[in-house]
């Protein structure tokens, strides 16, 4: 579904991604881990189309298409969903309005009829219940005055409504207490499907106790330096990231 080949990206001429290679198939859950500053969030944002990053080399194929040619909104309508690390507050825009606009943009793109208010409300209430969210959150302004946990749940709610083909969760677990983490994890686990790929970007192994990934990749200094099964995450939890960085430094140092 997603194939990233030698991806380089920079911000303000500062290289962040320095040759990412990664393939994710439908039905798989991949965890992308790494220390702060390794480029995890940049990778997530570049895949969603954030224009403050410049792709300087490489390519990204998504369902057979050149992803980098698409605008962020086209990517969203084609089924890519980014759960933001820091969900943005939008004063003056009701949450329900955003949810409805997002769903209908996707439906219109697929040539489906837009949902009317009744159908939409029925759908959204169902998902709200599953996420343990108060209906009042629908009528509040997008993320404004939401607690950290409410913001993250709101992201998962949007994901559940939009049913993406490729979901990228950028540190959705950070800042959550254990109960909120369980709810979010259950939300992600429920999205697992043979037709869907999920990329979990995370600093800690904690979330992976509840959503066991098929593959784990470790990012360091803008490259994937280790890939393995779920056991790699446990090893990181035990040994920290120091050994990865040290190994990377050796490898770079030894290069001719």
């Amino acid at each position: 579904m997603l194939e990233i080949i030698n991806l380089h990206a920079s911000i303000d001429d500062q290289p962040i991604l320095r040759g990412i290679d990664l393939a994710v198939n439908a039905g798989e859950v991949h965890a992308v881990m790494g220390p702060n500053g390794s480029g995890k969030s940049t990778l997530a944002q570049v895949l969603a189309g954030r224009d403050s990053y410049t792709v300087t080399a490489g390519e990204v194929r998504y369902c057979g298409r050149n992803l980098l040619e698409l605008s962020p909104e086209e990517r969203a309508r084609e089924g890519i969903f980014l759960a933001f690390q820091y969900p943005v507050e939008i004063p003056g825009v009701a949450n329900i309005y955003l949810l409805k606009a997002a769903i209908n943009a996707r439906r219109k793109h697929r040539g489906e009829a837009e949902l009317d208010a009744m159908d939409f409300l029925a759908l959204v209430k169902d998902k709200l219940k599953f996420m343990g969210m108060d209906e009042a959150l629908l009528y509040r302004h997008v993320n404004q005055g939401f607690s950290g946990g409410e913001k993250k749940r709101n992201e998962i709610l949007q994901m559940a409504l939009l049913e993406p083909r490729l979901a990228i969760l950028d540190e959705t677990d950070s800042g959550l207490d254990i109960d909120a983490l369980k709810v979010v994890a259950a939300g992600v686990e429920a999205m697992r499907s043979p037709a869907r790929a999920i990329i979990l970007v995370t600093h800690y192994q904690r979330l992976l106790d509840y959503v066991v990934p098929d593959r784990v990749h470790v990012l360091s200094q803008g490259r994937i330096v280790r890939s393995g099964g779920p056991e790699l995450a446990l090893e990181l939890e035990r040994r920290g990231y120091g050994w990865i960085d040290a190994g990377e430094a050796e490898r770079v140092g030894a290069a001719p």
Binding site: S52, S71, P72, E73, I90, V93, A102, A105
Partner: protein
């Protein structure tokens, strides 16, 4: 003022003074003469006047406007009125500054409520207007105010006896239909103790080209009275609009004002509130939306003259093109006006590199036990918000339109009368960049 311009105004005044309403009322004659002398003395404001330093009115001074004709032209079939009338409101229509009874729809008024045109009142009971039309003790605030007093031709007279209530809102609709006209309108609102009234003052144009609308609205709210005043300025793109809203509040009175300024080439609304009795309160909201080369100002002045009064100001501006706006908000707390509570907010959104917003809060505090705050911002659309919306499938143009709408709608949402709120939402959508197809 340049001598040629002055000569022109002198000739105009001599020519029309006998034709203006109430011309035979001695005290009014005298007041007009005094006002005209004050105008000649003050002249038009210049950039050297502190209150006008961002705003050149030279285009008004240079234009040769014709004064309002003595009577409204026949306009039974005027298409604009129907579309402007707010559902459920009592309507008083003025065409080119003159009352048009055949287009107005006041209905039967409850006991204790008088609503009529100023000109009709000057015919019938001129003495009821003597206090309002006499030269103010403090003199005229500007040459425009003096000019208005000298040439005032019509406007609305609204009087509520103590305890009276006008349940349906009163819409004062001023429509400009002719180019090159100067109109000097005056609205006089006297709300007796404990009375309640809600007024919408709307200025719009039916393809009138360049004209000059100089309007003064005086509001007196007695003890415990509740007055709402909502001003919609939708003048034509080449129009000049200079307006003042002067509200004097007694103890426990409340005044809720909103001012929506969308039109005009050069437009300015000054809102002056005197909190003259203890525990009076006012809230002043405003929204300016400009484009092209428009220049639109709001000047507010709130005078906390007595203790325990509160004032709230919430003004926003959305600027596109090479437009320019000024928000000047002055709050005075007099010595002895203890426990005054004043808060002023002004936020501006620049949609273009060429637009310029000047914001100037001025707090003058002479009492020590007060709570006064102010905040002003000038910014652009937040790229994080745009990206968030786009990442949810909303296209870039619709995302921008949605964010502008959300920004401006914060002012509209504060309107409590729903038909007016709905009208404003519609006006707002119509002004959004790139239309707003995505906003149903």
């Amino acid at each position: 003022m340049n001598a040629l311009v002055a000569d022109r105004f002198v000739a105009d005044f001599e020519r029309v003074k006998a034709l203006l309403p109430g011309a035979y009322v001695p005290w009014l004659q005298l007041a007009r003469e005094e006002a005209f002398t004050a105008f000649l003395d003050k002249g038009f404001p210049t950039l050297r006047d502190e209150d006008w330093k961002y705003t050149s009115v030279a285009p008004i001074e240079k234009s040769r406007f014709v004064l309002t004709p003595a009577a409204a032209k026949s306009c039974n079939d005027l298409g604009g009125v129907g579309t402007q009338a707010l559902p459920g409101a009592r309507l008083l229509v003025f065409i080119d500054g003159r009352h048009a009874p055949e287009l107005s729809r006041l209905g039967a008024l409850p006991a204790g409520v008088t609503v009529d045109s100023l000109a009709a009142m000057l015919e019938r009971e001129p003495e009821r207007l003597q206090a309002a039309l006499a030269c103010p003790a403090a003199g005229y605030a500007s040459g425009f105010a003096a000019l208005n007093a000298a040439f005032v031709s019509d406007g609305a007279y609204v009087h509520l006896a103590a305890g009276a209530e006008l349940e349906e809102p009163l819409q004062l609709l001023f429509l400009a239909t002719a180019a090159n006209l100067a109109t000097h309108s005056r609205n006089v609102v006297v709300a007796g103790a404990g009375s309640r009234v809600r007024i919408v003052e709307q200025h719009a144009s039916l393809n009138a080209g360049a004209y000059f609308s100089n309007v003064v609205t005086d509001i007196e709210a007695g003890r415990g009275a509740a007055v709402e005043h909502h001003k919609l300025q939708q003048e034509g793109p080449q129009a000049f609009h200079i307006a003042a809203v002067n509200a004097a509040l007694g103890g426990d009175a409340s005044f809720a004002s909103s001012s929506f300024a969308f039109g005009g080439a050069l437009a300015r609304t000054a809102i002056n509130v005197g909190l003259n009795g203890a525990k009076a309160q006012c809230s002043l909201d405003g929204l300016t939306m400009t484009d092209g080369r428009q220049h639109v100002d709001h000047h507010t002045r709130i005078d906390h003259a007595q203790p325990q009064c509160s004032s709230r100001e919430f003004y926003k501006g959305v600027l596109d093109g090479a437009s320019r706006t000024v928000f000047n908000g002055k709050v005075i707390v007099r010595a002895g006006a203890q426990q005054s509570d004043a808060l002023q907010t002004n936020r501006n959104l620049l949609l273009s590199d060429q637009a310029e917003a000047d914001t100037k809060p001025q707090l003058e505090i002479w009492a020590d036990d007060v709570k006064c705050g102010h905040g002003a911002t000038v910014g652009q659309l937040d790229p994080d918000q745009i990206f968030y919306l786009r990442a949810r499938g909303v296209d870039a143009a619709a995302a921008r339109a949605l964010l502008v709408f959300a920004f401006a709608n914060e002012v509209v949402e504060r309107i409590r009368w729903l038909p007016l709120r709905a009208r404003l939402e519609r006006l707002l959508r119509a002004r959004l960049p790139h239309g707003a197809g995505a906003l149903q």
